[in-house]
């Protein structure tokens, strides 16, 4: 079961996903939080004209995932893109070295 690492910033208190410093205020340190990987699809798109490095993978879906813990992440969503719906429950499926966390319908 892959894990999603989060950070609770000691300075501004905001929760963010996997970064070396707080993306909101720049503070380093803070508290490591292990995230469940569960969330809802706040919005999404289906990329049909892809940048050169991902051309072979089109069409693929990229979504805004509102994680249960309160942070939001932009991430690939696997599965048939046309079957995705707004508000749908998703979970973390894997973490890809090139494109980052990949979610799937729950």
């Amino acid at each position: 079961m892959p894990a999603l690492a989060g950070r609770r910033c000691a300075e501004c208190g905001r929760l963010s996903v996997a970064a070396s410093a707080c993306p909101f205020c720049g503070a380093v340190g803070g508290q490591s939080v292990e995230l469940s990987g569960r969330g809802r699809l706040q919005s999404f798109t289906i990329i049909r004209i892809a940048p050169a490095r991902y051309a072979a993978e089109a069409p693929y879906a990229v979504g805004l995932v509102a994680l249960d813990e309160g942070a939001t992440i932009t991430a690939r969503v696997s599965g048939a893109p046309e079957s995705l719906t707004l508000g749908q429950a998703v979970t973390l499926a894997s973490v890809d070295a090139r494109c980052g966390p990949v979610f799937q319908p729950a």
């Binding site: 919005s43 004209i49 050169a52 805004l64 942070a71 980052g100």
Partner: protein
């Protein structure tokens, strides 16, 4: 701070200008603006040139310095400005500040982009560098994709319809048809828009601007000197420049652009006007939904009502406020670095009663330029001198 005037503007046509290089286009637009201003070239004291992807798409960096050489102005300070699609607007604002603060009396401002020499996949990748690579774009999200995410949320939250969004494209293509500088000179029907090829669901081809080449330029001087050069100077009433969230995930609400809101409030305050005073707008319709959102963020219509506004004809040429009489980015074209200055070009023509799609009696004009998914914005308010 001195008042600033625009005394000359120039623009190449926008399109796939196969035989024209990036430096050549910038020089052509600058020469046209200079000729119109009647300022002798030796009086120009600085160049600010907007450009986003010259290195990557045209193998040409160092653009501002090279262009001053080709204009016969070697020696003066030359600055290339970058702020994604707001590169041109930033160049314009710096030119204004240079005169307002008394550093210079005569400034040349320009913007240029050469995009058609590279394959589409490479242009797509270059445009994506306006987003945050490690924090968002590495997912394979593209700019059409980012606005697809935004469009889907705006529709879900406010009930904005596919048809309302499509009508932005119909309006802008219809206006572009009459604009001799426009890349697309053909009206389109709503049916054609909503059945055009999917690029990044729900964004379709006619929701997008084309890949374009082009350049635009303007000559600025203190208002008190303007009438020595032209009978119809245009006055810069106010400018604003602000940043916003760099990614979609860090934004509290992707259906609004805080950079637009902040930059416009700064410009309105400097110009001492309210949104309702604006007669004509050239705003950043990088996608059809971006026009709807911009009309809301600029305070022209309430939040969520931008779709209804275009459907009711309130943003048409004869409407409450004319939006994108040039045809906008969607029809006129979007050579990225040139766009902010091309908006100034159109609005100067409007305020001189010389525009292709003339807004009758236009007194107050507003230019809105936006970079990325709202990471930066400039807003300029212009009036008759």
């Amino acid at each position: 701070m001195r008042d600033v005037a625009i005394i000359g503007v120039g623009s190449t046509p926008f399109g796939k200008l196969e035989r024209q290089g990036i430096v050549e286009m910038a020089v052509a637009a600058c020469r046209d603006a200079l000729a119109e201003s009647r300022v002798p070239r030796e009086k120009i004291q600085a160049l600010y040139l907007g450009n986003f992807a010259g290195e990557r798409l045209a193998s040409q960096g160092s653009l501002a310095a090279i262009v001053v050489n080709r204009l016969g102005m070697s020696g003066i300070p030359a600055t290339k400005t970058e702020g994604a699609c707001a590169s041109g607007g930033i160049a314009f604002r710096l030119g204004v500040l240079g005169i307002a603060l008394g550093l210079y009396d005569f400034v040349l401002v320009g913007g240029v982009e050469k995009m058609s020499s590279a394959p589409t996949a490479e242009v797509t990748a270059a445009l994506a560098t306006a987003g945050d690579e490690t924090a968002e774009m590495r997912t394979g999200l593209t700019f059409p994709g980012a606005f697809g995410i935004i469009m889907r949320e705006h529709m879900a939250r406010y009930g904005t319809t596919r048809a309302q969004i499509g009508l932005v494209s119909v309006k802008n293509h219809g206006l572009g048809a009459a604009n001799p500088k426009a890349q697309f000179r053909k009206p389109v029907t709503l049916d054609e828009v909503v059945s055009s090829r999917l690029v990044a669901d729900p964004i379709r081809l006619f929701d997008c601007p084309p890949i374009s080449d082009g350049a635009a330029a303007a000559v600025l001087c203190p208002l008190e000197m303007a009438r020595d050069f032209t009978a119809k100077p245009v006055r810069v009433l106010g400018t604003g420049h602000a940043t916003g969230p760099a990614t979609l995930w860090e934004s509290a609400d992707v259906t609004t652009m805080p950079a637009t809101v902040r930059a416009s409030r700064e410009a309105y305050a400097a110009a001492k006007i309210a949104p309702a005073d604006v007669d004509v707008v050239e705003l950043h319709d990088c996608f059809t939904i971006a026009e709807i959102i911009a009309t809301e963020d600029l305070g022209l219509f309430p939040k969520g009502k931008g779709g209804a506004a275009v459907e009711e004809g309130w943003t048409a040429l004869g409407g409450k406020v004319a939006v994108n009489p040039s045809g906008g980015l969607i029809s006129k074209g979007h050579p990225v670095g040139a766009t902010g200055v091309a908006q100034i070009y159109e609005l100067v023509r409007q305020l001189r009663d010389e525009a292709a799609n003339q807004v009758r009696g236009a007194e107050i004009a507003l230019a809105h330029n936006l970079g990325g998914t709202g990471v930066v914005s400039t807003v300029t308010v212009l009036g008759r001198a």
